[in-house]
Symmetry: C2
Subunit: 410 residues, 2 copies
């Protein structure tokens, strides 16, 4: 995203290749070539050359459009059958999921496995699965994106307070190269599930085309990020997305209680599966009790209301500060909003600044459900790939794979 401008005429071509491929990807490879040509304001001739080049590089493959208008039928550019694949993994507190994703966003789940919540128990088998699929799929794998249930610093160190993970060296346990600062270099991207869910929401969900949005992810604890112009704000060391660890008008019992993160009175202590279990008087922590929490969510009016009210109070504070256009909820968030929407709004509205009350932001459930984090991990891999540098690397591997054209070809 935000591919910054070409400077020389040589870079123009690379820049336009990226634009076209990005448009295909973002459109879920559903847009027709004529439509892409129009939307990207390309001349038909230019589009022709670009598509031909991308097809030759095994990035795109055109098929006839299923529906016709009046004139000559157009083609639909989609992923090439030998084209790039992004591996994406979502590591939750009690299980992980691994998938292969084509350009355009089609997801094929490769593996789902429960784990014991320890760094080794979760990550070593995942690393083995990644290695197996990578060697099976060969050069087509352009990178691996991994979503984790807590902050990951740029080096790849993860801290998941409520699981007791402290400075866990994720790349080492996975057996993957360490991602470089900025954007993961060799195609390895690690990130917070909240940030990834927000990224997916920005690309394929309710935050699409929204300039400023707020995304909140409710799982065992609560994560939140601001999404600006299609990108979640990652922070200076890659560990933004921690809105849950602000003391936002905490409820009385929580206000002075230490949070596992090391701070006090964190908002997130009042929202999420752990909070539901606490309200119901059950044991909580350590990433255990997903089923019990879901039962509480389904049955305990009171626990749900307490969570929803806390959620609403915090949302008001964040809306005051950031003025988002939309607030989206993922994880357990949509269910909280559905089961206790009134409570949520009654907690939120009076805490808004007067000038926000006229046009409060919409509060919406995610369009992607629990799939958000996985899809965001995919997007983060394609974000590295869909750049002039990424495509150039791919072109080189293709060229070495097929060193010369078949003899008879012109």
């Amino acid at each position: 995203m935000s591919v910054n401008g070409a400077t020389t005429s040589g870079e123009l071509r690379a820049h336009n290749r990226v634009r076209l491929l990005r448009a295909v990807h973002d459109g879920g490879s559903a847009a027709t070539r004529s439509r892409l040509t129009r939307e990207l304001r390309l001349a038909r001739g230019t589009a022709s050359v670009l598509v031909a080049g991308l097809a030759e590089d095994e990035l795109l493959h055109e098929e006839p459009a299923p529906e016709h208008g009046r004139g000559r039928p157009t083609q639909v550019p989609g992923p090439h059958p030998r084209g790039p694949l992004a591996l994406a993994a979502d590591v939750r507190e009690d299980a992980w999921e691994l998938a292969a994703c084509e350009l355009g966003g089609r997801v094929t789940v490769l593996d789902v496995r429960p784990h014991d919540g320890t760094p080794e128990g979760a990550l070593v088998p995942l690393g083995e699965a990644v290695a197996a699929h990578t060697s099976r799929l060969g050069h087509r794998v352009i990178g691996v994106g991994v979503a984790l249930a807590g902050p990951v610093r740029f080096g790849g160190l993860a801290d998941i307070a409520h699981l007791g993970w402290r400075s866990v060296d994720v790349p080492a346990l996975l057996g993957l190269p360490r991602p470089a600062p900025g954007a993961g270099a060799d195609g390895v991207t690690l990130g917070n599930d909240t940030a990834f869910a927000a990224l997916a929401e920005a690309r394929r969900g309710r935050l699409r085309d929204v300039r400023v949005g707020l995304h909140l992810h409710v799982d065992f604890d609560l994560g939140g990020v601001l999404v600006v112009e299609g990108r979640p704000l990652g922070g200076a060391s890659g560990t933004g997305a921690e809105f849950g660890h602000m003391p936002l008008d905490a409820s009385r019992p929580i206000r002075d209680r230490p949070c596992m993160c090391g701070a006090t009175g964190c908002w997130g202590m009042d929202v999420g599966a752990n909070a539901l279990l606490r309200h119901a008087g059950l044991e909580y922590g350590g990433g255990r009790g997903r089923e019990q929490a879901e039962r509480v969510l389904a049955t305990s009016e009171e626990a749900v209301a307490a969570c929803a009210a806390a959620l609403g109070r915090g949302i008001a504070a964040l809306v005051n500060a950031h003025d988002p256009e939309v607030v989206t909820l993922s994880g357990h968030g949509p269910e909280l909003a559905e089961r206790a929407g009134e409570t949520l709004l009654r907690a939120c509205e009076p805490r808004l600044m007067a000038i926000r009350r006229d046009h409060p932001p919409r509060i919406e459930g995610s369009a992607l459900g629990w799939r958000g984090a996985l899809l965001g991990a995919m997007e983060s891999v394609f974000d590295v790939f869909l750049t002039p540098e990424g495509l150039e690397r791919w072109r080189k591997t293709i060229l070495t794979r097929v060193p010369t054209r078949p003899a008879g070809e012109m």
Copy 2:
């Protein structure tokens, strides 16, 4: 900023003109041509053509560099004597200041006047001054930027709770065209002083080249914004920068007290001139009492400590959430930090997440002092101007002003 890429070869030229002019402006017209050529990675020939074109358009004017190295001496491109000027105004609670700013950032103060704090009393005379200077300076005026002490919605409606301004139609009172959503259209940009101070800090202060920074502006009340990649985040309707209106662990007496903004327990109620006056038992509100507040700041250890502690508590919360690299303070902020830095840090540190404590962000005073808001207003005008569209408009006015070249010229 973030001029998005050229697509056609024609746009390349426009894009590079912008890049060069932006580099001159951001460098305070101190960089030599040879250095600019290197830094922008232009061929010397290209730079030659670009500079010549910009000089012909009366945008740039080269003068010999004062210092020489070994080889042929280079030139320093600076503002053209008939070049563009940005008018910038800073409207504070009790006075306003109007200045003309050249490309490169040189500021000439045109007028300073106290006012009575009412919308009419403040804005009508300012509008008259703007009109007078605009007609005097003619086509050179490319826009007017106005900083106000509170949020301004995109249409131009200002709400300054602590002055009792509600939906004040700023463009109407100033007699200026209404700015369009997004970026002010005809060169009129209105904004929050906090956001503008942050913008200036990002371009010419301590947030330069910082990816994620947090800027806090302490005046009568407290404003705060996140600065990401050189731009303060404006929110969906232009009214972001309101970190002061989150209930961040407010001190006991404030916690349940209504804020003038309409919410409850706002952080800003504990930090700023109004809070100082309140701590000292003096009357406060309505933008009055700047001198008394300064006296309290200079003399009352206790009031200063209370403010600094509240500031530190809030900073901790924001650092947890956003992971900034630097926190900068403007307005009274630097003095608070200087007079009670220990108190501030002692309030901040224990409230940080454990993972933030290893590398907490630097907390620094602004490099621009009280000038920040004015400079930011200037930058916002140049941000609209330093685009392909802005430069094209300027070129057209120059062409109509000098319709044909002198006869003898080739």
